[in-house]
């Protein structure tokens, strides 16, 4: 008994010894942003490439603007449930005046918090409801990543051309494979733009799409890629967050167009190029709005010009000769508005070109198509709301399954 007490006392003493150890470093940061405190709510932690992309963008932005770490609070592992609302409230309690969230399912809980705290700005990436909620302090953002995928698709098409020219495949065997997460507008818009990019340089290309039903499932993504390869696909791209598809491609020696960032270090022989969204321009924009006391746009879409859409360096080892020049030209044309990705002259549905399409822009439980999105000969993607809305299944793309 006495021994135990002695032990406890010793422990306590050790505790009290170190008690007066450290204090919070009180970095000053830049004078201009001294009233800004930023919060970021993430679904997972840095282990997920998706969340890492947001976390890095936030850190870069704050560093650049001179907002010290003590005024940048990142909370990770927040479920798409009441936990998000609690996290948002807690960030308000900590004195944040602008709060970001990174996952689609956070949206409603951010809106709930936005209604409760009208003086705090709530910015939600990938959401769809800001333009219908009509709250002055709730905003959506996305990037025109379909342009990035289009440009990456051009690189894929050039690779196919090279294979055809070298006699490795015949023109009718130019089949690409695509591993998608869900059969959902964001993914459909992504693979269609990728396909149209490839088709712009390789007219005979077709594509097969396999869905995994998860944003992050390494095994499922790997298996989906393997299935596509065995079904005759000679080039693979993906819209999911793990290394499953790229590694399957490297193993099979099949060229891969990646997403979320370069995978060249793991796939030196097969990685061609990757597109990704850089959230830093949006973060900078929104934080500056708060600093200058200006309204943040309800929907914000950044493209190549803003730096929101980025292409990685092209891997010369795997890409076809001349890819860089061609892709650079395409990006310049996209920036200048000379290329419209979803131009109705480039694709058909059930054999005929579309002249009209009503999309479900205002989310509702009945999925009511409410907005005419084809005008002036192209589908106006990310114009009526920031999140992608292109959900047409066009000719030339075969869905092997669907997952919701």
């Amino acid at each position: 008994m006495k021994k135990l007490l002695a032990l406890l006392l010793t422990a306590l003493m050790i505790l009290s010894l170190t008690a007066c150890g450290s204090n919070d470093k009180n970095e000053e940061g830049s004078e201009e942003y001294k009233n800004i405190k930023v919060g970021l709510i993430c679904l997972h932690n840095e282990q997920s490439t998706y969340d890492l992309n947001f976390i890095n963008a936030m850190k870069d932005t704050c560093k650049k603007l001179g907002i010290p770490e003590s005024r940048m609070i990142i909370v990770t592992g927040i479920d798409e449930s009441n936990a998000c609302y609690e996290a948002a409230k807690d960030l308000v309690d900590r004195g944040c005046n602008i709060i970001f969230a990174d996952s689609f399912g956070h949206e409603d809980f951010m809106i709930q918090a936005a209604k409760e705290f009208p003086k705090v700005q709530f910015c939600h990436a990938t959401g769809t409801k800001a333009h219908t909620e009509g709250l002055a302090n709730y905003h959506n953002a996305f990037a025109s990543i379909y342009e990035g995928r289009y440009a990456a698709g051009v690189a894929a098409g050039l690779k196919l051309n090279e294979m055809i020219e070298s006699g490795k495949i015949t023109a009718d065997k130019a089949v690409m494979g695509y591993v998608g997460a869900y059969t959902y507008a964001e993914v459909i818009s992504g693979y269609t733009s990728f396909y149209l990019g490839a088709k712009s340089v390789c007219p005979s290309v077709t594509m097969k799409v396999q869905f995994t039903g998860s944003w992050y499932d390494e095994t499922a993504e790997k298996e989906a890629a393997e299935k596509l390869i065995s079904a005759g696909c000679v080039l693979i791209s993906q819209h999911a967050d793990s290394m499953g598809a790229p590694t399957a491609c490297e193993k099979a020696g099949v060229p891969n167009v990646s997403y979320n960032g370069s995978t060249v270090s793991s796939c030196p022989n097969t990685f061609i190029v990757s597109s990704r969204i850089n959230w830093a321009p949006y973060y900078t924009y929104a934080i500056n709005c708060v600093k200058d006391n200006k309204a943040i746009a309800a929907d914000w879409t950044g493209g190549f010009a803003e730096g929101s859409v980025e292409l990685s360096a092209i891997n010369e080892k795997a890409a076809a000769a001349g890819t860089k020049d061609k892709v650079d030209a395409v990006v310049a044309d996209l920036k200048a508005g000379k290329i419209k990705v979803f131009s109705t002259s480039t694709f058909t549905k059930d054999g005929s070109a579309l002249t009209s399409y009503m999309a479900d822009i205002d989310s509702d439980a009945a999925y009511t198509p409410d907005t005419e999105v084809i005008k002036d000969g192209f589908f106006h993607e990310s114009e009526f709301r920031s999140a992608p809305a292109f959900d047409i299944q066009i000719d030339g793309i075969e869905l092997l399954n669907s997952k919701f």
């Binding site: 422990a11 505790l15 008690a19 449930s81 609690e86 919701f404």
Partner: protein, 371 residues
């Protein structure tokens, strides 16, 4: 050579264990308190090694993260309440030695039922009626989910552990199917907050405190469970069936009926928990609505030795550790799994200390060295 002489050469080991007969309660409590303190000490050392924080800073961050603001306090007690409610649910079955590890699924299916009522009946029934319907149907859903394995156990003696575990997966799959059917926008896999403007099917908040009702219901359930298990004939029957089915049969207890009845109660309380989660807090359903609490509850129930009052302490402790450690991860930029590690340390110490409660460590006596 005599046996005696041989015996002298057998060396007494340095340490040997002896079973303790009956440790006084106060001493057992002391050992447990030391275990928790030790767990926190390990946490502090671990935290110091990883992020270089002083123990006082770690403890301060944990306290601040849980009690620092009014919102945090409410969140802490709401988390405790839901965990406690599910722990109460698994307990009657455990007392009967029916290893129900299906609380996760039983609660989730009730969450789905509540959400379904909110979606389908939200604009058809007045709120008090809707809430009543939700409550009754959720409890029924939880009950059915528990009753299916119970029937198989009672009549065909199937393995309830595997059965209840598999029922969890069935519940998850059914939930994800309906989430797809009801997802907005189409294909997104998210239902989102249900009835955000009309608040139909949202549990009414008492005063300004939205979680107060959840907490009060759980307190009532805790006391009721305690009385039911310790001072009712049913509770006694459960204990007897748990001790020995043959004895139970011998003294005229209908074992099958007790199994079915007890699992009904387990499932019903899970159903109630599911209702509280959806109606009282989340207002939506996702496959992770229960978020593993169905399994954590098993631990709470065991740590408390199936005593509902002790369970409220352990549920609070686990909620506290989780939330407190999360604060450290937020402030230090550590990986969010730090919270799990910390909880693991403390639980490990608590479970480990049971050894010292059950056994005495005896050192070799010095006299033994003398011839």
């Amino acid at each position: 050579m005599t046996d005696e002489k041989k015996h002298k050469h057998v060396r007494e080991p340095l340490i040997h264990l002896a079973k303790r007969d009956n440790l006084p309660r106060s001493k057992a409590l002391l050992i447990r308190t030391i275990a928790i303190a030790l767990g926190i000490l390990i946490t502090c050392v671990f935290g110091f090694l990883i992020i270089g924080w002083s123990p006082s800073r770690i403890v301060h961050a944990m306290l601040d993260g849980t009690f620092g603001t009014e919102n945090r306090r409410w969140d802490l007690f709401e988390k405790t309440a839901i965990l406690l409610c599910i722990s109460l649910a698994v307990t009657p079955a455990f007392r009967m030695r029916f290893w129900n590890i299906g609380a996760e699924g039983q609660t989730l299916i009730a969450c789905l039922t509540s959400a379904a009522c909110m979606i389908k009946l939200g604009d058809k029934l007045p709120n008090p009626v809707l809430l009543l319907v939700m409550l009754v149907l959720s409890i029924t859903a939880g009950m059915i989910w528990a009753l299916i394995p119970a029937i198989f156990k009672a009549f065909w003696n199937t393995n309830e552990t595997l059965f209840t575990l598999m029922m969890n997966y069935v519940a998850t799959q059914i939930t994800s199917y309906f989430i797809y059917i009801w997802s907005v926008p189409k294909g997104s896999g998210h239902i989102g907050i249900i009835n955000p403007t009309t608040h139909s099917g949202w549990l009414v908040s008492i005063g300004d405190y939205p979680y107060l009702l959840n907490i009060l219901v759980t307190i009532v359930m805790t006391i009721t469970s305690y009385i039911y298990l310790n001072h009712c004939k049913h509770g006694y029957e459960i204990s007897v069936v748990g001790e020995s089915e043959k004895t139970a049969r011998y003294i005229g207890i209908n074992v099958k009926a007790v199994i079915l009845r007890t699992m009904c109660i387990s499932g019903a309380i899970c159903g109630l928990a599911g209702f509280l989660i959806v109606s009282g807090a989340d207002h939506t359903v996702i496959t992770g609505s229960v978020g593993g609490l169905g399994f954590t509850a098993i631990m709470v129930s065991w740590l408390a030795k199936f005593n509902p009052l002790a369970m409220s302490f352990f549920a609070f402790m686990i909620a506290f550790l989780g939330k407190g450690a999360k604060e450290i991860t937020t402030l230090s930029g550590l990986d969010s799994s730090f919270a799990d590690i910390v909880t693991g340390f403390v639980i490990f110490c608590i479970i480990g200390c049971e050894f010292f409660i059950n056994y005495k460590i005896k050192m070799r006596r010095k006299e033994a060295k003398h011839e």
